[in-house]
Symmetry: C2
Subunit: 220 residues, 2 copies
Amino acid sequence: MLLSLRSVKERTTIRISELARTTEVPVATIKYYIREGLLPPGVATGPNQASYSDLHVHRLRLVRVLREIGDLSIDAIRGVVRAVEDPSLTRHEVLGVAHRAVSPVDPGEHLPELAEVDELLRQLGWEVSPTAPDRHELAQALASLRALGRQVDATTFLPHAHAVDELAAHEIATTPADASATEAVERVIVGTVVYGKALTALRRLAHEHHSARRHLPEPS
Amino acid sequence: MLLSLRSVKERTTIRISELARTTEVPVATIKYYIREGLLPPGVATGPNQASYSDLHVHRLRLVRVLREIGDLSIDAIRGVVRAVEDPSLTRHEVLGVAHRAVSPVDPGEHLPELAEVDELLRQLGWEVSPTAPDRHELAQALASLRALGRQVDATTFLPHAHAVDELAAHEIATTPADASATEAVERVIVGTVVYGKALTALRRLAHEHHSARRHLPEPS
């Protein structure tokens, strides 16, 4: 899961062997990505030669992030790459495609709790797609709590919503406004996955800390 | 993953068939749990009969939560159940066992970033075990960011730590102080897993909302 991309350097045009060395992606894998449409082919410079550019270096970096951090399938990566290349999409739409790629899928079967979740989102004033699949995750969580006999409604998640609201605003605000689409997509994947894992780990550590404060005698 | 435990009623002693009906756990599964040491045997009332009590109802409920919500193995469930039964353990220690059961395992190989994570936890003033496995999750996240060329130190996680600090305090404070060990353990599992999934889903929805606010024109 560790990438090593520190050595990416700006070049004008390079051969495939150099592209492989720079990006630490084997030549055979680069050729496979080209066949699968994840990477545009190089510009032919001879019967068996082509030259590659910074575009390829940056795109390969994005593909590695999508594979190794995002854990995406080749088909899912192709979808994100096409969105990055599509000039008719707005920045928000491109980021939406990246975001959706690392979100759960719509389960198809909709729980009755979904209406309550949508009402919660309306109360929060959050502008989210009416088909966002994470709504189903929340509906499922609410249904699980009720099946356990907890008499809760969707407002049980309000403290959690407030905790992530400010955090998400901070996370979005720290993306440079002039980032390229490739960079912005990479930030969405890394932010969702890597910082998401950190958030989950920190919450468990914070539970341990607050549980200790509650249950252990004060040190004298 | 949906449990249906609403119908648990308080009884004095019941037969295994009634225990199965009440808890919706098949008789064969109850017998399997007894053989595996997850549930104490009933009190023999005849050559082929035994009676069961509220203890069994509550314990079976806990075992189902550990299996269906916590997704724990039989061995892991046995560890948690033994902690619940052990009168020499403090409440904090019992909850620590439950907590550890739904945390990642120590990877064995320790990243150099671990020292920075421990320093961050010290700065936060968080009272956590010096062997808490979530420290490695944070070290791994920091290493991943650096491998991507991000020039960050462990303070990159400070906004995330602050977001969950207050939330975790709220979550711990809402556990009734007079809860039994069984109930308290169940709350740890449900809190960590179900509310953890809700938190992750809400963070992604909050990203979508704040990304929309940043990239879309204001509605007129």
